[in-house]
Symmetry: C2
Subunit: 251 residues, 2 copies
């Protein structure tokens, strides 16, 4: 098996035949995983505010608009980009249309992959299990971790999560006596994770994006997003729409 990491949405290459895991820890993929885990019917990621508004007019009452620009809620939208907003009583049974600066672009950039999963710290083990199942049953046998990054640049929070997922993939493969082949960036993220796994929050606190979120008062979001394996929901992106693998796609 091969494991690749891309550091930004704009560095992604052709992923044909590969299983992609899109990672935007702070906060898009944490939001999407939380929304679906809390009962949202589906999440539709779109690139622009206009696209979100136009699409929302096609639904009648059962749709919520979520997302951010420059980390804050978009005027007129129902929800921002804080996972803590996406509570069960608000999202259950609803369609959420979401647009964010980096995460939704990373999802779109991964569309050439055979499978596109949504990962974060919250569902790390669950997404690894699903990715292994997909990758090992495909001819390519390659997992591509697509980090959203921040405004086109490498971001430590996503790299740390990629490192954790690489570690988990490697350990799973070692159990069946296979050593996966890591790309240079997959190897680097793994090493960064191994060097800092005892205190990932301190490591991630050096990220520019972490500091910006802190300045904007989003410390509770950060603490929530850095929890590991608290959700078993694996969002799967297919034909423009994200649904939970357990409840919708693979049942």
């Amino acid at each position: 098996m091969q494991i690749e990491v891309y550091s930004t949405f704009n560095s992604v290459k052709d992923l044909s035949g590969k299983t992609a895991i899109v990672i935007d820890v702070l906060r898009a993929t944490s939001v999407i995983t939380t929304a679906l885990s809390n009962g949202a019917e589906r999440v539709i990621p779109v690139s622009s505010v206009d696209e979100a508004l136009n699409l929302s007019r096609k639904f009648e009452g059962q749709v919520l608009l979520g997302g951010e620009r420059e980390a804050v809620k978009i005027p007129g939208f129902d929800l921002g980009n804080s996972p803590l907003e996406y509570k069960n009583e608000l999202v259950a049974g609803k369609t959420v249309i979401i647009t964010t600066s980096n995460g939704t672009r990373a999802i779109k950039a991964s569309e050439s992959a055979e499978h596109v999963l949504i990962g974060c710290f919250l569902n790390a083990s669950a997404v690894v299990e699903k990715a292994l199942r997909f990758a090992l049953s495909s001819e390519t046998s390659c997992v591509a971790l697509v980090c959203a990054g921040t405004l086109g640049e490498f971001s430590l929070d996503d790299a740390a999560c990629a490192g954790l997922i690489v570690d988990s993939l490697v350990r799973n493969m070692e159990r069946v006596n296979e050593i996966p082949e890591l790309s240079d960036l997959a190897f680097a993220c793994h090493e960064l994770y191994l060097g800092h796994r005892s205190d990932l929050k301190t490591f991630i606190s050096h990220a520019g994006h972490y500091k910006r979120l802190l300045d904007l008062g989003f410390e509770k979001d950060i603490d929530y997003c850095l929890q590991r394996d608290v959700l078993d929901c694996v969002p799967v992106y297919q034909k423009g729409c994200i649904q939970s693998a357990i409840s919708e796609v693979l049942k």
Copy 2:
């Protein structure tokens, strides 16, 4: 002072006002530094084989053509991309026109910077000293490390050298009681360097590009390029041409 790292020639942004250090350890910036250290008059980096051939016709006898495609010497060229070929008796007093897959593109991608220096393990301390002098006397006070990468992807050899250079810049600034601000990727490269500085060769041996060079029989090149601080030559790129800072640009 700010320190940024770019992981590939195609990820470089506007570097106006900044001091760039271009890094292509295996092997373009090691070749350029070696050629100038061994007495070459100048190195002219060009993007294509055609451009190299056309330019060489304008010189009469005093020019050498060097470079590679897919790591091997270009048919009809005088020299490949092995630093060990660029001996004093061959290059002294000559103009070397060079074209490589990643390094020369990284130099061109850095043209918007106020100063463009050429760095590698061989001249790491010398290039840091020069970069500090340039950066601290400029308004921006930012050093941008531009890694060439390998065919548009992050490369461990360049990241390790960037980490060493970040470490040296940080230590120099700490001596004057300043803590530089690191970009996320600068922080990551620094951490990777700190975690592996006792055995950088083993760390770099995980690079895909390292393995390819080994397969092609270039082990002596690798051993040469991973030597630290054996040259005090600092190549400076200006108006399409690279010359040694000591002998030509700053004398």
